[in-house]
Assembly symmetry: C2
Homo-oligomer: 367 residues x 2
């Protein structure tokens, strides 16, 4: 039975578009803005992959931000991405305020090339922008039978343990590993309890969020996504305080900050800017590629991943659950369905894209 | 005012011993069991560092396990630790069933040497044993102004999202980074809500644990640490189900499993054995060292870490908290106090050490 991890709700608010059409449209927008052919394809693929995998918060819904960033001049369409320093297995990259997806693609490819040559590629990046879903870059490694890792810092949204207000980003961690049969293992998680995209989604639907996702300006648990976004903060994975491990989510967010920004020279914490602001956001990323073949035959590794998955899936089922999932499985099944049946896009997102099309001067194919 | 992250409770159940005395005693036990001088020092340092930093669950309270492992023959006192494959920045190690601390020390030193030579050291390890606190190895990197990372898999204790029973280990993640002034940043966290050591501690005190740390055999939230240890399971960071991110803790545990065991060939999930069992435990570890100086001047990096810490600490205080902490700070302050005033050891742990002393045939200095 086809599965959708994020079925359109309410269905009448959504239009369904074909994957290729959406890809073409997004690419045409960036092309028109002066982004080179290959880079425009990269950005389009990154955004539409998010929609395909049911992570709408990071898909074409954010097109406006990237477009505005370019038009305000903070995001360069032809950045001079350069390697600041490097060794056989590492590099430090300056993204020159290019699109996060372009800088990310360049940097992950470099990590993979170094992994091909030396077994390992470790790349930290400064002067970039919002790069879309972290999992996209981790998954790039799969085509070379490598393990891929990707992290990014982001604008402040999370209150750390004991604090009020927004200080840390949702600082996601992604890891992809190849398996003998699909889907590959793909972990792609914000280090906050819930991602900011969920706030936007609940806000759009006029729904309350579960108590425990965020706090208001005074630090009280808050179920209003708008209050959290406006004056409160998200909570780190583990929640408020230390009792259920909130200090661990806080620590993971700092780990991401160290690898993406402290080490690269990117903006840290509240210094991280917005893509659509007039100043460079100076976002920091981290990428790693590990060439499995240097450690054991690729088939053996894939077989072990398969065995790991099967062991976890054959565990006795908890009575409150219908199924045991593994990371990347829901998104994979969603992408199979959406490749086949099309991608549901919210009317408001369609309207936003239409406006972008008319502003930029490209054809909007869904009149 | 001196701080202790884990003050002795109730105080009358504890004896206070000097750091050096405890170190000497533990070393003498391993020496007597045939562990070479330098290795005995490594194991003793690892265990006593845990007690010094207020992580008693991983300190001398576990001496018996290591001793039994050696006496039953599953843990080798003179292992032939070998490099199975390597490149300029990576290595795969076979620990030959040596003590986890000995294999860990060897492997982290190798990671640091590779980092010194190439900027980066990435080492995955099979055929090891329980290696004590993960943070110990991450902190080794600090002496060379490197970032240190350490992970290990462990015997099954955690029920993954949707499952009943123990499947994943508490699979900890540790990262240490140097700062301009002490304490350094030291994250050392189990990927479960609470570590197994907390169950043992609450059980010893006859106390209930907070609902949300674990489940019983039927999957119901359980506040009895003995039930959790006997027939239930710990929950992954984020708790039961996906609402508060339990699938994230589950995913982090798999990430650790991939880097420590899938990639190294170590035992996975329920295959991981016990140190004190007759068969090799085949525990897997992962170590990484990053030479900060290849990315920016060391002083600049340390200054940035300092600025990160100061920014987080100057945030407005949440009304329910007394102070904003950063990772490694509580353990650092505890170690300062305990170096000065001595380490509190529970009477039952003292009795256990006394018994070990008489069995092994070394002097017990606290008669």
């Amino acid at each position: 039975m086809p599965y959708d991890k994020s079925p359109p709700y309410p269905p009448e608010d959504f239009l369904t578009v074909r994957y290729e059409e959406l890809l073409d449209f997004v690419r045409s927008v960036f092309l028109k803005l002066g982004v080179p052919e290959e880079d425009a394809r990269t950005v389009a693929e990154n955004l539409v992959t998010a929609d395909l995998r049911g992570i709408e918060s990071h898909g074409v819904a954010r097109l406006r931000r990237y477009v505005d960033g370019i038009r305000k001049g903070a995001v360069k369409v032809r950045p001079n991405i350069r390697v600041v320093s490097e060794g056989p297995s590492f590099a430090l990259i300056d993204g020159d305020s290019g699109l996060g997806q372009v800088v990310g693609n360049f940097s992950m490819r470099l990590a993979m090339r170094k992994a091909g040559e030396s077994g390992l590629g470790f790349v930290t990046v400064r002067m970039s922008n919002h790069y879309g879903i972290a999992g996209y870059y981790a998954m790039m490694a799969l085509e070379k039978d490598m393990i891929g890792i990707s992290m990014t810092n982001s604008r402040p949204l999370v209150a750390h343990t004991g604090a009020l207000g927004k200080w840390l980003g949702t600082n996601p961690i992604a890891l992809a590993a190849p398996t003998a049969t699909p889907p590959p293992f793909v972990l792609d998680m914000a280090t906050s309890v819930a991602p900011i995209g969920k706030m936007e989604e609940y806000s759009r639907l006029g729904r309350k969020i579960p108590l425990g996702w965020g706090i208001d300006a005074e630090g009280k648990p808050c179920d209003d996504p708008d209050v959290i976004m406006r004056e409160g903060a998200l909570l780190p994975l583990g929640g408020l305080g230390e009792l259920f491990g909130g200090h661990k989510g806080y620590g993971l967010a700092i780990m991401v900050e160290i690898l993406t920004s402290v080490l690269s020279g990117a903006a840290m914490l509240r210094e991280v800017g917005q893509t659509e602001a007039p100043q460079p956001a100076n976002v920091g990323h981290f990428f790693m590629a590990i060439d499995v073949a240097r450690f054991m035959p690729v088939d053996e590794f894939k077989g072990r991943m398969e065995r790991l998955r099967e062991s976890l899936k054959k565990a006795p089922l908890h009575p409150e659950f219908e199924r045991i999932w593994i990371h990347g499985e829901k998104s994979y099944l969603t992408s199979l369905k959406r490749i086949e049946e099309g991608i549901p896009i919210h009317r408001r997102v369609m309207e936003g894209m239409k406006l972008v099309a008319s502003e930029v001067g490209v054809r909007f194919p869904w009149e």
